[in-house]
Each structure stands twice: as C-alpha cells, then as structure tokens.
Symmetry: none
Subunit: 254 residues, 2 copies
DNA sequence: AATACACATTTACGCAGCGTGAAGGTCAAT
DNA sequence: ATTGACCTTCACGCTGCGTAAATGTGTATT
C-alpha cells in the first residue's frame, strides 16, 4: 500500500505539514518521490511513523526519537529511563510551582479578607454610630451616649498601623476559630484563645472593655443576620460557636 | 539609587539581555535614558522587576505578567486561580505521561525478561531433557525417550525468528492472562484465549501436541515452585489460574 | 477541451523567551 | 592614545510545527 502525504497524514492523525517537516529534518523520508515531485510513503514508513508518534506521545523530542530509532535496540531502554527521570524532575518542579501558587493565593486571599473586614469595620461603625440596631440602642441605654461617642472617636483616630494590626488580629481570630471548630467545644482552650483574641480585637474599637458588653456583642453576632452571615461564611455555626466561647470567656454563662 | 542594565541584572540575578528584552516588549521600561543612550533604572523599576520575577517563577508568561501588573488588584486573584488550574491540568498530563513511559519501560523490561525466559527456556530444557523433575520422569514414562529427544532437537534447531515469535507469544500470554485474572473465571473466554496461546507457544517447543501432556505441564506449573514463582511474580495465583484455564481448555476437567 | 476543485509542491514568517554573536559607541583608568 | 569594561542596536537560532502565498497536478464534470 502506498500513500501520499495527505493520505498518510489522515491515517496517522497528523497534519501533512508535519510529514513534510519530518522529511525536512530527515526524521521520516518518503519511500520515493514520484514524477510530479509528490512524496510517496510505503508500509515501512507507516510503521516508522507509528513508532515516531509513539515516542512523541511519551514526550520525547524529535531529535531524541531520531536517535532512538536509528539505533533501536541499544538506546531505547536507557533513553526511556533517562526520560522518565527527567519527567519526574519536571513533575517535582511542577509540584513546587503549584504549592507556591497556592501559597500566593492564600496570601492574597488573606489580603482580600482584610478588605472585606474593612467593609465590616465600616459596617460596624455604622451600627454603633447610627443607632440602627436594637443592640446599638441597648448599648446606648446601658452605657450611655458618652461612651458611644468615645468609641466613634477612637475608631476614627486609629492610625493606619493600628488598623492593620486590628485586621491581622481579626485574621488570627478567624484562623483560631476555624481550628477550634474542629474540636467543637467552646470551653476548649483554643476556643477560649479565640475569645481572648476577640477581646483584644475589640479593644482596638472600644474605648473601654467590659464583660457584659462583650457578651452582648457576642449574642448580637448570632441574632443579627448580617453579623451571622459574616461569621458563618466559611463554616456555618461559627457565629454561635464564637458566642458560646465568649459567653464562657466572660464568665456570663455557667 | 540608580542602576545601569548590568547592575540591575546582577542585583536581580537575570541577564542584561533579559532586561533589554523586557524593555523591548514594554514589560519593564527604564526610568530614563541618559545622554549616551544608556538605560537607567530607579527604585520603582527594581520593585517592579521583583514583581515580574515573582510571577515569572510562578510560571506566568510575560504577557500575563504584563496584564497582572498593569491592573494589579483586579486581575491578580483570578489570574492566580486560572493559573493554578492550568498547572493542575499540566500535572495531570505529566502524570499520565509518566505512567505511559513506565508502562513502556515495563513492556521493554519484559522484552528483556524474555532473555530471562531464554534462561527459562534453558531451564525448561534442562527439566525435560535431564530428567530432574518428577513430571519430567512422568513425561518420559508416558511418552517415551524418543519424543523427549525430538523436543530437544526442535528447541536447538529453532531459528532466531521462531525464537522471537515464541517470546512474543509468551508476552501475549502474560498480557492476556493478567486481563483474564481481573475477570477471575478460568472458563471465561479471555482465560481460554490465554490457554490457546499457551498451546501455540508450547508448539514452538514440543515436537507434537497432546492434551494430557499440556494438562500435565499445567499442573507442574503449580506444583513446581520455580515455575510457580515465575508465573506468580506479577500476580499471585496466576499459576493456578493458568492451570485451571488449561485444564478446562484441554477438557480434562469437568 | 475547458473548467472546477481537491490535492501536491516549495518558501518563508510567526510563536516564547531569551542566548549568543556582530559591529560599533562610551567611560574611566592608564 | 590606548586599553578594557561597559553600553548600544540589529539579527539569527532554538522547537515543532501553523498558516499563508504562490504555483503546479490529478480527476471529474460540463
């Protein structure tokens, strides 16, 4: 059986350009060239092409394939081993690359979360200052107008650095919380650590700390859907969990 | 601090050609060009180069980096995700490649093993001709000295080509057997195919075929530990499986 | 026989990211 | 003035073809 470029190309599932290229680089010469200059391939060339494509699929370069096929018995084995070795190295590199990309993603993700929390901080400010919430009202009733004004002032006078510290704290709270959730007990050490961090975080925003206000805020985290959604976005039940941890931390439960 | 190409190149650990190229494609333009046409880079460019190299290490193309750096906040995140996705796909491809290369190695290895089987054939010869085994004895008793001598002669007169054919057959038997093993029933079509191939293989070595000798050999495969080890080396139980298949094939069981 | 249309041919640019010259100017020191 | 270490701008080369462009052939239909 004899084939022209196109026929052979179709048979082998490559382009005719590829066959001409293989001819050009001497990888696969046609059996003969007919009177019109057409390349004519025979059975031997078909077999050879199959071999070429086989090694090509294994990721060998055309040059390597040429080497392997020109001296088949000797090199093929060793070439395969070396090739495998190279592929393994390549894979190791890729693994590392992927790890680095993932680290970068995580890093940026954290950065993004902080800008989310920026909004949240704004949201919180709105809550405290504009008296929209019942709890806002309650706080005002309980602690008076003066303290609320002081809080606003403190918030608005935060330096950039303090702001970043607060956000870093918030990120740590999240992390600690998510770890504590895995254990599942709000009286557990890790959960109490989260509550403590939360207190520290609060102190960036509140003019003074007291346990019942902290506990009240914690309760609000559960009852206000906006807060709840914020805390639950990664893991449902986080708001409740944090509330319970804080209630225990403040000693206002059990 | 200002740098010429070379200085910056040294600082960043790239070649000056690279910096010129980055200038050429507009990825990193020098801060200014001095009166002699020298490229002069400033602090801003140093920082930018750091970013470029960072993303380059993550495997991004220069074009992608250009995109990311020109509109940092917006694209970077998504680009990272997409990039990760692409890397994962690439890894999957690599895995497959490696698997295929290893398969090929194993296949060629088996070819090499055929020269092990050369030993094995020698081993077999020894067994049959030198009357070491009970089964060897039995065969002699059953079929007489003459036929054994004929077998030896046939074996020693095998051409290279016949020998290779026989080895190819042996390889096919192995393959068929391992597939049949997955199904698990020695009366199954594939297992019977293996038995048939085994008969054909035998006929390269035996002067004449008969069912009971075939069945006897099959039994020996199980009872002689050397044969058993040979057949079981890839998958325990293969010797028994082959024996059962051959017993059914020869009709000497059930 | 003319036309159409699918095939064939060679030549050559393009791709990514530089390496590696070549041919020539500039700077500082000798 | 010369040297030697810099700098500059071309421009080709690497891989494995894709994708024209320009031109010739083979076969079927009108």
């Amino acid at each position: 059986m004899e084939y022209t470029v196109q026929k052979l190309a179709q048979l082998a599932g490559v382009s005719s350009r590829t066959l001409r290229y293989y001819d050009e680089i001497g990888l696969l010469k046609p059996a003969r060239i007919n009177s019109s200059g057409y390349r004519i391939y025979g059975q031997k060339e078909v077999d050879c092409l199959q071999q070429i494509l086989f090694y090509r699929e294994l990721g060998f370069s055309l040059e390597q394939i040429q080497g392997i096929l020109s001296d088949p018995a000797f090199d093929a084995q060793q070439a395969l081993y070396q090739h495998r070795q190279k592929l393994l190295e390549k894979r190791a590199q890729l693994e590392e690359l992927i790890l680095n990309v993932e680290k970068t993603i995580a890093f940026k993700e954290r950065g993004k979360q902080m800008s989310d929390q920026e909004k949240f901080a704004g949201f919180k400010k709105q809550m405290i200052t504009e008296n929209e919430m019942n709890y806002g009202k309650e706080v005002r009733e309980k602690y008076g107008e003066k303290i609320v004004e002081q809080a606003n002032e403190k918030f608005e006078n935060m330096t950039e650095k303090q702001y970043e510290e607060a956000n870093a704290l918030a990120a740590e709270i999240n992390k600690t919380l998510s770890m504590a959730m895995k254990i599942g007990d709000p009286s557990n050490e890790l959960a109490q650590q989260a509550a403590k961090l939360h207190k520290q975080w609060l102190m960036y925003y509140w003019p003074e700390y007291n346990k019942s206000a902290h506990a009240g805020l914690a309760q609000m985290y559960v009852e206000d859907e906006r807060f709840k959604a914020f805390y639950d976005k990664e893991q449902p039940g986080t708001a409740e969990f944090l509330r319970d941890a804080i209630l225990i931390f403040t000693g206002l439960k059990q």
